[in-house]
Symmetry: C2
Subunit: 342 residues, 2 copies
């Protein structure tokens, strides 16, 4: 176990400028800062894994959103998991594994109340609490159940299906009784994984042909639930094939995150009226009450070997921006993570 | 009272060709047909008023929708009200006022089961059953209550506000406790009517300046409920100002009905996610169960003098297409109706 004295500095990723369109390395700065002595009630945590997530891109813009934008010159925050290496808080002794939102740094130090302890379980990697067993899995579960009101026998389409949320959503949809699960992704390898590892009935490579044509061919009986991680042409394709009374959970619009200026929406929104569709956007913060229900079901599914996952791991805090940019470009399969330390 | 012998022919409007973009008179044909002798259980009805409605435009296209497209060479159907002039059905004796969906003709003859009798009430014009007391009022009520889940204190925006559904929606929103009601329309006269007659707090003329700018200025505290009769730039404007958890009832997209080919959608759909919005399309057929509840409340409001309305009346079955085209262009204030006979 690392000791407190060995971690008196923190290497952090700061936002140097607000990206216009695609972020570049110039928009970030790696800073190494001295950590102050621990105050009463504080803990110091050596991160093991850092999560890089699409929503982080939105917070780099100075616009109204559901979370405040990052300040210029300040550290990028987000989900991470690590181990307490120094503590003045009885609740979180040295050695405790903790989840937190302090984000992109190798060592973080803050009030104990901003960390949540995670029980260590034999054979369950720590990193899973950052995705399939954590927020990512919960996002998929909330989107399918509360937002899209998935019913047994539904046909489900999931875009960005090889991403962390997508692979979780595909499997959860199946476990909740979906009749047919269709996914889209951007490479032959991902498409193969979707059908071979994640149980999708059909997987479409959107780079092969317009997704609108591919989806129409893949869903001759229409789609009841669309879990949207992409927006843009994928939403348009889904609106073409939604069945009457269909439900769309809007979880992400990665297609629009890095465009410089607004992008027109789908040309077929009138289908929302004629087919009595419901489109509902969500972010996780308002639905954390489903966390216990999700935790109970996912623990059972996971223990029964029903849940597959992939991780794409980048080593070293100094490569966090690479990991983030690669994730935005779709270079990852499953959850993109930065591994910190050894 | 007219007698059966005086109505042995029917003048009808038939669909001659499927319009591409804006319909023209060439797409329709006026036909006068001999009526067969009444079969047992049939009634013959002399129409008093015919309703011309935006959704009719959609049925002229040969595409999948919530109702089947009109057949070429067949009569245009839709809401109408008239009086039984001949009957072999005990349930509907001569003189009974009836509502029906047989549509664009001066005289209609069919099985009695396809007509619904309407009680005549002193001082209540027959025509109101075709709009504020009928389907139009119910559409506004369903959209606000079941679809948009209007709550007391909400700020409401209604596009196409000077139309039949719009004027009903504005008044019902107020009666259900909306704090602030904003409407849009396309002429200075309509805008004045909205504030002076229909109780809108603010009315915007979308021809004066981009609706996006006007609405942002008119709704500094945002909008909780948007009742969309227009789509296009109006939906985009609303998405800009919707408050977190806001609800959009998509009732019409008249902006897109007569375009030749698809039109791009709003460029700000990502707000659906970040603000956790719900967009729900609807057509009335699935919500007729709310009819008794609406009828009870509207009767009370109407009797109390709380409900204003306007009618734009075109005389003569042969001018039905003019009325329809004028309505699509927004030439009407309130409900557009064709008056048949004297």
């Amino acid at each position: 176990m690392t000791t407190a004295t060995s971690t008196a500095t923190s290497t952090q990723i700061h936002l140097a400028s607000r990206p216009s369109g695609w972020p570049t390395h110039d928009d970030f700065r790696v800073a190494t800062v001295e950590l102050a002595p621990l105050q009463p009630g504080e803990v110091r945590v050596a991160n093991a894994f850092i999560s890089v997530d699409p929503y982080v891109r939105g917070r780099m813009n100075d616009v109204r959103s559901y979370v405040a934008p990052y300040a210029l010159g300040a550290q990028i925050t987000g989900g991470a998991i690590g181990r307490v290496v120094a503590s003045t808080a009885e609740s979180l002794p040295v050695g405790t594994v903790v989840l937190h939102q302090h984000g992109w740094s190798d060592v973080v130090q803050a009030d104990a109340s901003t960390f949540r302890s995670v029980p260590e379980r034999e054979g369950v990697p720590l990193s899973l609490s950052l995705h399939i067993l954590g927020m990512t899995g919960l996002t998929a579960y909330v989107g399918l159940t509360r937002i899209a009101q998935l019913r047994e026998g539904d046909t489900v389409f999931i875009s960005g299906a090889a991403g962390a949320v997508g692979t979780a959503a595909g499997q959860i949809a199946r476990l909740l009784g979906a009749k047919r699960v269709i996914g889209s992704a951007g490479s032959p390898e991902k498409v193969r994984l979707l059908t071979e590892k994640y149980g999708f009935d059909v997987a479409l490579n959107y780079k092969d042909a317009p997704i609108r044509e591919q989806l129409a061919a893949a869903a001759p009986e229409g789609v009841d639930v669309y879990f949207d991680n992409v927006g843009g042409d994928h939403l348009e394709a889904a609106l073409d094939v939604m069945n009457d009374g269909g439900r769309v959970a809007l979880c992400g619009a990665i297609a629009a995150y890095n465009t410089d200026g607004p992008v027109p929406g789908p040309d077929n929104l009138a289908n929302i009226i004629t087919r009595a569709l419901t489109l509902r956007g969500f972010t996780l913060a308002a639905h954390l009450d489903l966390s216990p229900e999700f935790g109970a079901r996912m623990t059972e599914w996971f223990a029964a070997g029903e849940i597959a996952y992939d991780e794409t791991i980048v080593d070293g805090i100094e490569h966090t921006v690479d990991a983030f940019l690669d994730m935005m470009r779709g270079a990852n399969t499953g959850k993109m993570l930065v591994r910190v330390g050894s």
